[in-house]
Structures are given as structure tokens and as C-alpha cells.
Symmetry: C2
Subunit: 563 residues, 2 copies
């Protein structure tokens, strides 16, 4: 254990950054304290590339000790989508021992107050940041993301989301002062006087249920929102993606102990094959907050059954792009090609349905028929992914066999405009790397609806032929209402269509990206600036990150006395 | 219809007050723009006493026209607890007509933006304030409150809670700017540039389910929180307390129409006898927010079944006072006597259980045995209510036959230390006016638990003998955990006991008043300064008013474009 970490040291290290984060969530300007280029790390600033790789390699085939109470056995079994057996064993909890130990950690953490909690969280994030190269390998070999994406999305971008949650939590808890004088005039009599203290009190133990594809990016908001508002956090990773969150738990425990807090404020719940520990934990009375990313079926089960908890979910959706017209046809095609290819479409924000009028669209390159748009998009994807090196760098590997099955089934859903191809990975020959498939469907045919009105998670997109842009807008509305979406896009040069798309997205609660043709993609959101989802459509009941995401994680308890 | 009300006029009238409200919810200092003395009204500043009375009298025996769509019949039947048959008929809705009309009002109200919505809400509140004398009679003759209390709690204090909700709603919606520039550096390349707009989008139609005892005070927070965040509000009053909320709806509709908005943003749903319209409305898909004050049974039903809505409830609880020791015995007794007597204990904040050590307590007037404390408290209540005029001014009338039955049953629960007495009301001889009963129970006896661990709403309090203050604290914890409470009090000169009470209230989420002996009572909370409930124990799932009370009533929708 390193020397103790004082409140003054934490303030010195992080208070100025917290203030910048608080400003960024107000202005929504671009800001990040976490460099996103691999070369920014090393030479005294965290682990460099070789050190990060070595740290990752040293974890393989080991027991991942956490020294948390109530470990009754060891669980593991992660196999990298790139073909490596990680061979790491994690502590499996006896929850009747672990949960009481976590609850016992609450009082001192509550009494530390919002600022000290925020600063300790920021120290955790800073140490995670310093080990971004190590995390990149851990994310890559659990999610199948290509290295650069695992580095950026699993590293600085995830850390940004964590810090954003810390800033929201701090802001929310400090909306009232620690104490106040209340003096009410009584005419000629003496005024009434009270001294009131306000304490942010955590709900209880929080449960984070992690996902396979973005263990850190989708996990850090909930983890840090709960921890910064005073709640211990039990981290239940996806069984295929334990390592990134186990590293997170270990670093959190180290920092908490150094700062004089109980390390059991953050614990890991690895699970045995088929155990379904999340379902058991979710309805335990100690669990008062749940953050979940995953399937709609389990998310809806949590919302309906974990009534003792505040439940924040991100579930499946059907992301849609309305293609009406463009003044930059090439830009549109290349932007969409990239958006569909990135991480083989395995993002909750990847567009699935491209709604294209069957009579074609107006562009700066002349009128383009439906078939031409589809063919040109297919060509753009082929061009983007023509070289294997570039394809591997963009696509990564398929995260699990389910994605592969859906991809192989895609040709049965409609006409294949672009078939998926297998890409060989020079370093990892066992990796399943596939380019996206583009399938055409007729939006007017009821039998096609079953395909395009379900989430087909992975590298499959549908070019849906519609009668008109008006019909596209109507189908967008229906999709949002019935299935939800994390992202909506539209390409149009018409102010009327733009306005119609905005109206539908406002009325059905979806985040809209208009006419992206450059280096910003529909599937990317930036912490501090962008909300991830709205929490208002069926794809998610919460957004990363707003006041509602943090405000109910604690309650304000008031004590008043005569002054 | 009066001349139109422009945005500039609304700004001129209310923007400065909004800023003061925003400051007050931050500082928690005493503040109110609504005078609480009856003489402050009249002579050009709203309706004076005689005008208010006349306005109320003119409503009796009439049809209360609201000109809202879908009225299929008329409903009424309010009888004042003071014995007057109000004889007022209210529009009963065909909800299949009314709800779509309310939904149609959303877009223009959404587009008005947070500030114009806040200012229009403040104009509604200002007009309600000007008619405080009229509202006082309406609240008095539906709740049974005495005039002064109906005037203050039903008037300025309720208006304060409404304004507090408007301030929170405005603050929450303006945490992000209307639009932002996002410029991300790209090294030597041009930066990425986006222009993003943010729109607060209302959830849908909000349902306010009003209560019998405090139709305005308990109703205004939810009503104005929903309206200020862009949601139309359907007001479903308690069938015995329609008039105060019907007046509110009428004034809201007038202001909205004058300001150029659709008056159907606020509508009334009066119900036929036994109809149970709240249950029907609560699960309608159009209803996306519910605010409820009332029984635990229906509150829990709403929380479990209205899954399509954000549900905010205030239910039953068992308010408790720990009596350990005091350095102002007379002050304690007179403060408690007043707290138990006010509105005949028919407040959700009235103390029910007084936990008193059976070996007695230390006071500035020497040691007092359990029996002495009980007898002295009984005497203090008798002294306070000895004169009928004063008793009538404090007690008001019993709100409904259920309260009277519970009171009459109280003597069967334990030993009666102070029997309730009937007070004659000179002006309203049919009013049922009763002083509170004080019943002693043995906290160690399981058969007594059934009495003191249930809410006995009305003028019945229990002096519960406990073995020690330690046992009192343990019983307080159990009561909070199992039954919840809106208020907790403690009297002690011991820092250790004070700390123990604070800890229990923090861990079990209760608002604590310590050593109140002067003119502040445990059952009174002040808007802008005090939270009403915590939302963390079984008595309520929300508090008036915090960020969580407003943040999920809207969702932020973002549109981003290349800049």
C-alpha cells in the first residue's frame, strides 16, 4: 500500500479539473482531460505501449486477487474474440457475506461529503487513465474491438463518461449548502431562527451490470454516478468481459484504501457459468440502484421486478437514418460507410435501417435512384474496407457466436446488396473478422417488417425502400415509438424535411444527427457535450448523463434546530 | 377574455421574482413573495376579505364552467366539514376526447421554452395569490381546516410550493444551453465542428391526483413541476375537495389562453360517485407522469402498475418524536401540544408516536417520570385548547367520518391519558370539532405494536413507554424502515442522543427536527428552505422539492449538425 492520500492532496490534484468538468457540462463545448492518442502515454505519463502490453500479458493465466470479503470460489473463462484464452480466475462472492461488508462501508463514505467523494473518484479515474494501454488490451480481448477503438472508446472516452458522471453527481449534491440559517420575520416579535444541515445520503448498495461490447464505456457512468453519490458499487461484469471491470475494481479499491476509506465500497461479482447472478442480486433488498446495459428482455425484467431499486437501463433499439437528399453525396456515402463498418456494427449506436425513397434522391451529383444509392453505398463500404490492414483496424472481431449467426442469417431476410466477407487478421488468425452486409428490403411489405423492426445487432444493415420521405418520417416515428433508438440520422437539403425529422425526434425522444459528412459519425457521442440516448424511448430509460441520472441516487436529509 | 399577455409583459412581471426563487432554493434562507397575513390582501392588492368571501359564496350551488373539451356529464357533491352543502357541479370528462385534446396542446408549449413556461406558471400563481381569500374559504370548506390555516397553508404556503417547483423546473431545463458549438481539435487538420441544439421535451400528459386535506398545498408542487417542464396536466381532485383545484384549473386556463397557449394544457377530471377514475387514468398510455398524495394502498398500486409513467407519491407514515431530555420542559410541552392540535392532527406531518422512557426524563424542571410527562403534556393540550374560540381557530373540523371513527376507536387501543372533547363551533354548529386524544401504550408489549406501528390519521397520538432512549432510537429505526415517516422529532440535551437520532434519520431517510420549543413546529415545512419528506422511506417516494422531482418530467433532445 502506498502512503496515505490526504484530502489536501486530492484537492491539489483534481479540484481544478472538477471545475473544468462542471463548466463543460454547462457549456457543452468540446473538452476532455484524457488524451486519446496512444503516444500521449508513457515516458513518465502513465504506462507506455510496451508497458501496457506487458501488464496485460502478466495477467493472463493468473488468479485476479482482490482481497474482498466473502470469496467462496473462483470463476473465469474469458476467451478473446481474437482467439486467446485469457485463463484468468476472478473471486466469486458469497453475497450474504459481501453485501453486509459493503453496507458497512457506507457511513464513513457518506460523512466524507460530496467533494471528497468526487476527488477520490477522480483519483481512481486518473489511475485508470494512466493505465489506458493496459485497459486497451483488456477491452480489445474481451469485446473484440480493434486496438485503436479499444484504446480510445475503452480508455479516454470511457474515462470522460466517468468524469462526466462525477461532475453531475457533485453538482447535484451541492445544489443546497451543507448548512443554512433560516430567519423568518415575525413583525414586532423576535424572528424565528433555525439552523439547518443538509446531508446527501446514499440509497444503499448499487449494482452495475456490465456488457460485453463496451465494458468500461457503458459501465463507468453508472459506477461513478453511484460511487460519487455515496453508494458502494458491486460490479457484475458480463462473463465474457470481466477483465476491464476487474481492473477498474482493483484500482478503485487501492485508491479508496489509500484515501482512508473502506475498499469494500467497490467490489466485484464474477459469476459461474450459467449462474445468472445478476437476477439474484437485482432483487436483493440491499441493492437500491441498478445500472444495466444489455438485452431488452432482461432490461425490462429489471424495470418490472427490481422495485426496491432505482433502475437505469440501456436496452436494444433500432437506429434509423432517413436518406432524403444531400448536397454532398460522396461525403454522405463515406460517412455512412464508416458508421456501418466501425466495430463491425456492434455498437448500440450503429445505424441499422437506412430509409431510402424508392424513386431515388436528389444529390449534388444529380438524381440517384434507390438502386444507385444502395450500390454506391456498397461500393463505399468496399472501398473503405478493401485493404485488409485497414479493414482489421476498423472492424475488430465479432464479439460472440450470436453475432456471427445473425450475420449468416441476414441473406435470408432480403436481397443482399453487399455480402459480408471474412477478413484475415495477420496477428490473430482465429479472429472472426467480417465486413458489414447490406440487405435491401421493401418497406411496404409486411413480411419485411419483421426484419427491419427488430434489432439485428452486428454488421447487418437494411436499405429499406420507402414510397417517399414522408413515409420514411412516418416509419421513423413508428420505429422510435415501438422499438426505440439510441441514434437517428437524416440527410436532407430540405428545411421542411429537416424540421419534420426534428419534430419526430422531439416527440418520440431520440437524439438526431443531421447531414454528417465529415469526421463526426452518428455512432459517436462525446461526454460533456452529447447525451447518449434520451431515456424517453424504449431503447433506454435513462441518458448519459443528465440530472435525472444522478438525482435519485441519493436523498437529502435535513436536520433543523433552533438557532 | 382579457387582452393578450405578451412574453415581454410576463418577463417584466415575473423574471426578477424567478431569479429570487432560484437564489432561495440555493441558499435555503427564508423567502416568500406571498404574504401570509390576511390583511395584506385587498385595497388594490387582490381580493380583500369580504370580496374573497363573496366570490366563494357566489360559487355555491352553481355549475363550475370550464369550457374544456369532452364534457359528457356533470359531477359534484362536496359537503363542507363545517356542514354546508357546496352544491357545485363540475365537468366530468370523456377521457377519450379530453386526453387527445391535451396532447394536441403540447407542441406550442414545448416550443415556448423553459423561461416562457416558467413565467406563465408564475402569472397563474400570481392570480391565485390575488384570490387567496377566495381560496381560503374553498380550502376551509373542503378540508375542514380552520380559516387561518386554510388561508396560510392553502394560500401563500401552497403558492410557495408551486413557485419552488417552477424554479426547480426552470433550473433543471436550463442546465444546458439552447445551443452549443462543439469544436474538437484534430492536430494539423481542421477541427471538427458541430452546432448542437438542445430542447427540453415533455414526457406527455401529467396526472395530478389530489388529496382531501391539503388540495392546494399537496397539489401545487406536482402541477407546476409538470406544467413548467412542458407537460399538460390533468387535475383529478379528491371528490371531497374539488373546488380549490377547480379554481386553480380555471385560473390556469385563463392565463394560458391570454398568453396565447392552448388552455387545454390544464384540465379538470371530476368524477362520479364510486367511479374510481384515477385508476382508469393512471394506466392510460397518454399519462406519462403521476403525482399522488393519499393512502399507501393506492400509492403502492400506482408505483407497481402505472409503469408507463413517472410516479411521484406521498403516502402514509408513522411520524415519531423521541423524548429523551430537555432544557426547556415548558417549551417542549407547549410546542408538542400545538403540533398535536393543529388541524386536529390531520396533517401528514403531525407526530403520532411520542417515545418516552418509562423511567422518565431529565429536564430543566427536574426529573419527570413517564406519567408526569404524559400528564403535563395532556395538561398543556388542555390549556392550549381550553377556550373554544382558540380551540376552533386551531383545530378546524374533522375532514371525514373515517377520522371520527378512528378517534372514537382510540380508547380501545390503550389507556386514555387525555380524552378528546367535542368543541362547539359558534358559526357552524354542524361541524365536528374535536380536541386530540392522547393514549398511552407500552412499547414492550407486542399487542401494542399493532396500534403504534400503523398510521392512525387524525387527532390521536400515542405516548409509547420505552425501556430507554436507546430502545426509542431502535424503535424509531424500525418504524422508519417498515412504515416510513414524513417527520421525525427529538428532544435531548445529550450530544450522543442527538448524534444517534441524526444517524438513524440519515440511514433511514427521514427529516429530523431537534428540540423545537419556540414558534416553529415539527409539522410545518417552508418551501425554498425545507424539503417535505425525503423520498427514501416508505412514506413517500419523492420529496418536495428537489432535482429528482423535476428532472425526469422531461427529456433533453439534441440535434447536431456540421457547423
Amino acid at each position: 500500500m502506498a502512503a496515505g492520500l490526504s484530502a489536501a492532496q486530492l484537492t491539489e490534484r483534481h479540484r481544478a479539473t472538477l471545475d473544468k468538468a462542471l463548466e463543460a457540462i454547462r457549456t457543452r463545448a468540446y473538452w476532455s482531460p484524457h488524451p486519446e492518442y496512444p503516444k500521449a502515454y508513457g515516458d513518465g505519463s502513465g504506462l507506455g505501449p510496451a508497458e501496457g502490453k506487458a501488464a496485460f500479458d502478466a495477467l493472463l493465466g493468473t488468479r485476479f486477487e482482490l482481497d474482498q470479503p466473502g470469496t467462496d470460489t473462483w470463476a473465469g473463462g474469458e476467451v478473446s474474440p481474437y482467439g486467446i484464452d485469457l485463463g484468468i480466475q476472478y473471486p466469486h462472492p458469497d453475497i450474504d457475506v459481501l453485501l453486509p461488508a459493503m453496507r458497512a462501508a457506507i457511513p464513513a463514505w457518506r460523512e466524507a461529503g460530496a467533494e471528497q467523494r468526487a476527488l477520490a473518484c477522480m483519483e481512481i479515474l486518473a489511475r485508470i487513465n494512466a493505465r489506458t494501454h493496459e485497459f486497451a488490451h483488456a477491452v480489445m480481448h474481451t469485446s473484440g474491438q480493434a486496438f485503436t477503438m479499444a484504446f480510445q472508446a475503452g480508455g479516454p472516452h470511457a474515462q470522460d463518461r466517468g468524469l462526466e458522471a462525477v461532475a453531475y453527481a457533485y453538482a447535484e449534491q451541492t445544489r443546497v449548502p451543507d448548512s443554512a440559517q433560516w430567519i423568518k420575520p415575525q413583525g414586532k416579535r423576535d424572528p424565528l431562527r433555525l439552523r439547518t444541515t443538509f446531508t446527501a445520503v446514499p440509497r444503499g448498495v448499487a449494482l452495475l451490470i456490465g456488457c460485453n461490447t463496451f465494458p468500461t464505456w457503458n459501465g463507468f457512468s453508472g459506477l461513478f454516478a453511484s460511487l460519487a453519490t455515496g453508494n458502494p458499487v458491486l460490479v457484475k461484469p458480463h462473463p465474457r468481459a470481466v477483465l476491464p471491470l476487474a481492473l477498474t475494481v482493483r484500482i478503485a479499491r487501492e485508491v479508496l484504501a489509500e484515501a482512508g476509506f473502506d475498499p469494500n465500497l467497490v467490489c466485484l461479482a464474477a459469476e459461474l457459468p450459467g449462474e445468472g447472478i445478476a437476477k439474484t442480486l437485482a432483487v436483493r433488498p440491499e441493492i437500491r440502484i441498478i445500472d444495466y446495459t444489455g438485452s431488452s428482455a432482461f432490461g425490462e425484467w429489471l424495470e418490472a421486478n427490481a422495485q426496491q431499486a432505482q433502475v437505469f437501463t440501456e436496452k436494444a433499439g433500432v437506429n434509423t437514418v432517413v436518406v432524403d437528399s444531400t448536397d454532398d453525396y460522396r461525403g454522405m456515402l463515406s460517412n455512412l460507410a464508416f458508421a456501418l463498418s466501425l466495430y463491425s456494427g456492434q455498437m448500440c449506436t450503429t445505424p441499422q435501417n437506412l430509409l431510402i425513397p424508392r424513386d431515388g434522391i436528389t444529390t449534388d451529383a444529380g438524381h440517384k435512384s434507390y438502386d444507385e444509392v444502395v450500390a454506391d453505398l456498397a461500393a463505399a463500404i468496399q472501398g473503405l474496407l478493401g485493404e485488409d490492414a485497414r479493414a482489421n483496424a476498423l472492424l475488430g472481431a465479432l464479439v460472440n457466436p450470436g453475432v456471427r449467426e445473425r450475420l449468416e442469417n441476414a441473406s435470408s431476410l432480403g436481397s443482399v446488396a453487399l455480402a459480408s466477407r471474412q477478413v484475415t487478421h495477420p496477428e490473430f488468425p482465429d479472429a472472426i473478422v467480417r465486413t458489414p452486409a447490406l440487405v435491401t428490403l421493401d418497406g411496404g411489405k409486411p413480411e419485411a417488417e419483421a426484419a427491419f423492426l427488430s434489432e439485428c445487432f452486428g454488421p447487418v444493415s437494411f436499405a429499406v425502400a420507402v414510397d417517399s420521405t414522408e413515409q420514411a418520417i412516418a416509419l421513423l416515428r413508428r420505429t422510435l415509438r415501438e422499438k426505440g433508438a439510441m441514434t437517428v440520422g437524416a440527410y436532407t437539403t430540405s428545411p421542411d424535411v429537416e424540421r419534420a425529422a426534428e419534430e419526430v425526434c422531439q416527440e418520440e425522444f431520440a437524439q438526431l444527427s443531421l447531414n454528417l459528412t465529415d469526421g463526426v459519425y452518428i455512432n459517436q457521442t462525446a461526454a460533456f457535450a452529447d447525451f447518449h440516448g434520451t431515456g424517453g424511448n424504449p431503447a433506454a430509460n435513462s441518458t448519459l448523463c443528465d440530472g435525472a441520472f444522478v438525482a435519485s441516487r441519493f436523498r437529502m436529509v435535513e436536520v433543523r434546530r433552533p438557532a
